[in-house]
């Protein structure tokens, strides 16, 4: 092997290492994008963690107590604090974290005082006071959980997006360099296989390490009503990291294989 070929082989190996690091970073960005940074994942975690049931019960309890204190029946309140209303209320507050604040029209207590006056014959003053008290209880109960950690992450959204694109570009660049520095398709294929295998293994190790080695389960007290939701929310990230790494590795291998078959 000539000195030029040796240098090319050495450069190819260096590019494989850079490609592997970029691929792992890309997998990390993708995993964050589909889990911790995605509103849908957050909403699903609240659902799975039975957080909405907790909020419904807390809101009902607070509003019923207000009605009892005012000497009024709680029946109209019970029919308004539904799982759908709770879900809409909490998610609206959470939505503000992703898309900024919007007018909150999710309170189910609009017209409550009129209903009390029309159907139960209560005084306007009592029913108005009750409606305001219920609105306040509702506002308290529907505060979006995990907002501090979500807001902390949201401020790095653009960093994540930028790094994702940058890593994808660098990875593609490393792939092109493999092609330019290789002597035959076997060399290209070997190089890409090294990147792919390294990426899959690194992502699997990181996924396992994140899940079992960081102690994230104790970041929040178990007694917190949103603990289950937190576990679902954060617990989805390490497996996604491993899955994204493996998926990326498979895609890299498939692309190389396809290109190789085209030259047969």
């Amino acid at each position: 092997m000539s000195s030029k070929q040796q240098q090319a082989a050495l450069l190819a190996v260096a590019m494989q290492l850079v490609g592997c690091v970029c691929a792992v970073m890309l997998a990390l960005c993708a995993a964050l994008g589909v889990t911790l940074m995605r509103e849908g994942h957050y909403a699903a975690s609240l659902q799975k963690g039975e957080y909405f049931e907790y909020v419904q019960s807390a809101a009902l309890q607070g509003c019923t107590r207000q009605a009892q204190q005012a000497g009024l029946s709680a029946a109209p309140i019970e029919s308004r604090v539904t799982p759908e209303a709770v879900r809409a209320g909490v998610l609206h507050r959470a939505d503000a974290l992703w898309h900024g604040a919007t007018q909150d029209a999710t309170s189910p207590f609009g017209g409550l005082s009129t209903e009390y006056q029309d159907t139960l014959g209560s005084s306007p003053a009592d029913s108005m006071m009750l409606e305001l008290a219920c609105e306040e209880q509702w506002h308290n109960a529907t505060a979006a959980p995990l907002s501090a950690v979500l807001a902390s992450m949201q401020q790095y959204r653009w960093v994540l997006r930028l790094s994702g694109w940058l890593c994808a570009l660098l990875l593609a660049g490393c792939g092109v360099l493999q092609f330019l520095l290789a002597e035959c398709w076997n060399d290209v294929q070997q190089g890409v296989q090294r990147i792919a295998l390294g990426t899959a293994a690194a992502c699997a190790v990181m996924g396992l390490g994140l899940y079992f080695g960081t102690g994230w389960q104790s970041w929040m007290p178990v007694s917190d009503p949103a603990y289950q939701a937190f576990c679902c929310w954060f617990g989805g990230f390490p497996p996604a990291m491993a899955a994204c790494g493996v998926l990326l590795a498979v895609i890299m291998c498939i692309i190389t294989e396809c290109m190789k078959n085209l030259t047969k």
């Binding site: 506002h139 109960a141 501090a148 807001a151 949201q154 960081t214």
Partner: protein, 218 residues
């Protein structure tokens, strides 16, 4: 296409071991590099994940020996110490409260401006927080909401008396020498900004209830 990329049959299996070895080295290096980034991010997220801000969430005042108000005078928290938690009803603001408002404290919770008072000292308590993180939901605060500050020497409740936006340079927005005891929370405005802005959002509260921790409570 260049002739060199015309397909050739694969060489002997001897390169398989070499490939695996390279992959292993890449894997280790990638884990070290990207893992370092992830761990650094985790260190930032961990304090924020300590409290959900959910209604009825456990309030995790820093553990410590309970003190009376008199003892507080003798054992003021040191600059940078976490001395309590801050929660506001109707919002998801729920964070650790630090003595000092340097970047280090504001990255981990809300910070008390040190020249002002501490809860229980009878004057103005000025507390800052980042608008992109711990004080992001300050925009949900409504008049009459309850600001709860739990410390290891007592629990203090303040009711929100007003909110306003003011220029950062507008010193008329706060009176640091006012009595009786009151709390002023502030953050950059508009909400959610990651860079310092010209405007500040102030939330004012006055003390309504003070529960000293029981002397024998641990």
């Amino acid at each position: 296409m260049n002739d060199k990329f015309v397909y050739k049959a694969a060489p002997a299996q001897k390169s398989k071991g070499k490939n695996l070895l390279f992959s292993l080295v890449f894997c280790v290096l990638a884990v070290m590099i990207v893992g370092g980034v992830v761990l650094a991010a985790g260190r930032l997220l961990r304090p924020a994940a300590g409290a959900s801000g959910a209604p009825g969430a456990a309030n995790n005042a820093p553990a410590g020996v309970t003190q009376s108000e008199a003892q507080l005078q003798q054992t003021l928290p040191q600059p940078g110490d976490a001395y309590g938690t801050l929660r506001i009803s109707g919002t998801s603001v729920d964070c650790t409260l630090y003595y000092g408002d340097a970047d280090e404290q504001l990255n981990a919770g809300a910070g008390t401006y040190m020249p002002t008072c501490l809860p229980g000292q009878g004057g103005t308590i000025l507390i800052a927080g980042h608008t992109a993180t711990y004080f992001r939901d300050l925009e949900s605060v409504q008049e009459g909401a309850d600001i709860e500050i739990s410390t290891n020497y007592g629990v203090f409740h303040y009711t929100v008396t007003g909110m306003q936006t003011a220029l950062a340079s507008d010193t008329s927005a706060y009176d640091l020498t006012a009595t009786p005891e009151n709390v002023i929370l502030y953050t950059c405005y508009p909400f959610g900004q990651t860079e310092p802005t010209e405007w500040r959002y102030f939330v004012y509260g006055s003390l309504v209830q003070q529960q000293e921790a029981a002397a024998n409570e641990q």
